[in-house]
């Protein structure tokens, strides 16, 4: 089966710091793939290059078989690749509900379609997704007034409302009340299974990624250190060294 997302030899340097050094990974359609690595190992940089936020120096990134490394953010998003951020990014001056309304299917809506009020289906979808992430009661609150964790959940709901084919999640459980983390995991599984969204997830919380992902990539110092099923990665000597320091 052809991979939905395929990165080959992606290299990106900031001056002398090589943030991504020949990184290759593949995400199969319908999969949940994890991306781990110590702080500063280049995970978020990889997300930035995949989504077109920063250009790459060499390598290739293909999404649905099409080269996207030369495309701009907007075009990549419209082709079905949506991301969330480590620091949640929501429209702070809009209410939670309006954040959702402006996100519903925005990636494949026509520009002329913006000049209408949100349709009935969109309203229902918003209700459903707000309920899905447990923010129904906050629908009238300004998104900027939500807590960090609530903003993360809102951002996830906004991304899902946008009907992505591939969703890149940057630490979806960071800052979320530990009691809620299992709910988030469940929801991500539902999004994957029921909504058919392929997921590539950066995560520092190991139990979370071990529970979610079928395949894990580990980065260190900008290079791909190891890859494999979660159990294998968990016991990989190189990975343990990278996290805990070589003995």
């Amino acid at each position: 089966m052809m991979a939905l997302l395929e990165a080959v030899g992606v290299t990106k340097a900031f001056g002398g710091v090589v943030a991504n050094d020949g990184v290759s990974l593949a995400v199969a359609e319908g999969a949940i793939v994890g991306l781990i690595g110590p702080n500063g190992s280049g995970k978020t940089t990889l997300f930035n290059t995949i989504t077109g936020a920063i250009p790459i120096e060499s390598g290739s990134i293909r999404f649905k078989g099409k080269e996207i490394s030369q495309l701009l953010t907007g075009g990549i998003a419209r082709s079905g690749l949506i991301r969330t951020y480590q620091q949640p990014r929501v429209y702070g001056g809009l209410t939670t509900r309006d954040n959702m309304l402006v996100s519903v299917s925005i990636r494949h809506g026509s520009f002329a379609g913006l000049f209408r009020r949100a349709r009935e289906e969109a309203q229902e979808k918003v209700d459903e997704l707000l309920d899905f992430v447990g923010l129904t009661e906050k629908s009238g609150t300004l998104a900027g007034d939500l807590s960090f964790g609530q903003q993360k959940l809102l951002e996830l709901a906004m991304a899902l409302a946008n009907e992505p084919e591939l969703l890149l999640l940057d630490e979806p459980t960071a800052g979320i009340n530990p009691a809620l983390i299992n709910d988030v995991i469940d929801r991500l599984k539902v999004a994957n299974a029921a909504l058919g969204v392929t997921l590539l997830i950066i995560e520092h919380n190991m139990p979370v990624i071990m529970d979610l992902a079928q395949h894990v990539y580990c980065l260190a110092h900008g290079r791909l250190l190891a890859e494999g099923p979660p159990q294998a990665i968990q016991n990989d000597a190189l990975v343990l060294d990278a996290y805990l320091g070589a003995a």
Partner: protein, 343 residues
């Protein structure tokens, strides 16, 4: 629901009473007709500034560019339909040689205003593709430069009167009370502008503008066509600014390139002040701001002559310190704090 954007009975009543006041005001206060017309145009200026500056978060200091373009476009069309523009301006539009009869004058006005809309909107579309790729301070400074440059360029073109300015056609006496006519055209424009913006802001396009204001990169990463949305808002605002400029020229009757048409130091700053005073990012705010501003300005000019700019400066400081979110913003925040209904 987005409660700040829906029509409640209370709001309808407010709109109806504003409209009724607008219709009878010049008849009740004939001595203040031109000030009232100016107020209506100020409302359009403030609303247009706020669509881009408030709703979309792009602080433009160069909106006078579109006011001035509209002003010149209308005046040129008005003259050109009857006389040679170059000769008219060389003669300072004066004397008995350049007389406009009633039908010539009205036709000129009727064609001049749409021409102003077209020219300003076209300029916005052409410039927007470049200027709107800039953000924050860069955008502000760039637009400021555009406004100043336009004034300097206009002052160098003899065909439109260069630095000595251009007179708009002298209305014929047979037409009777032209200022009243201008007032009602301005009222129509202000109402049309308010309704258009109210509609725009009720659609997802309005939300998209707010999304761009709050986090443009995020909106782009969600696949929103941010550039198209920005250019559209800028072009719509420019079209209305052009129409308002056309009327403003005919109201003051003399177009000085720097003092009237591309008047960045007065109108250009005032429109921002009005929007901030009333409450940026709201539909009602710029309207309230324009009313408060025009009343204060006229009072200062009447009772504080010589100190009027000091008075205006004080007003700016008071707004910035005590009402940073404007009058409408202040009222909404207070109501929200007391759990009351939003106005």
């Amino acid at each position: 629901m987005s409660d700040a954007r829906t029509l409640t009975p209370k709001r309808l009543l407010l709109i109806a009473s504003l409209l009724a006041t607008g219709i009878v005001a010049p008849l009740l206060f004939p001595a203040y007709q031109s000030q009232l017309t100016e107020l209506l145009l100020f409302i359009v200026f403030a609303l247009c500034w706020d669509l881009v500056g408030g709703q979309m978060g792009y602080n433009s200091f160069g909106n006078v560019l579109f006011v001035g373009l509209g002003m010149y476009a209308a005046a040129i069309v008005q003259v050109w339909l009857v006389y040679d523009v170059g000769l008219y301006n060389a003669a300072r539009g004066g004397g008995t040689a350049f007389v406009f009869d009633a039908s010539q004058f009205l036709t000129g006005l009727a064609l001049g205003i749409p021409a102003a809309v077209l020219i300003s909107a076209l300029a916005a579309w052409l410039l927007g593709s470049l200027v709107l790729t800039m953000r924050g301070h860069y955008f502000a400074i760039c637009t400021l430069g555009l406004g100043i440059a336009a004034g300097q360029i206009a002052a160098g073109i003899p065909w439109i009167g260069a630095g000595s300015g251009m007179l708009t056609p002298n209305p014929p006496e047979s037409l009777g009370h032209v200022p009243l006519l201008l007032y009602y055209v301005a009222l129509g424009l202000a109402v049309l502008c308010t309704l258009t913006f109210a509609w725009l802001l009720s659609t997802r396009f309005g939300l998209a503008l707010n999304a761009i204001r709050d986090d443009e990169d995020k909106a782009e990463a969600m696949g929103l066509k941010t550039h198209a949305a920005k250019v559209t808002a800028w072009v719509v605002a420019a079209g209305f600014l052009g129409a308002a400029g056309a009327l403003y020229g005919n109201l003051v009757r003399f177009i000085d390139p720097i003092q009237t048409a591309f008047a960045g130091a007065t109108i250009g700053v005032w429109m921002i002040l009005m929007a901030l005073l009333g409450g940026r990012g709201t539909l009602l705010g710029p309207i309230v701001g324009a009313i408060v501003f025009q009343v204060t300005k006229e009072l200062f000019w009447t009772y504080l002559l010589g100190w009027q700019r000091v008075g205006l400066g004080l007003l700016i400081i008071l707004v910035a310190v005590f009402f940073p979110s404007g009058i409408v913003g202040f009222v909404r925040e207070r109501n929200a704090a007391s759990g009351g209904e939003k106005p």
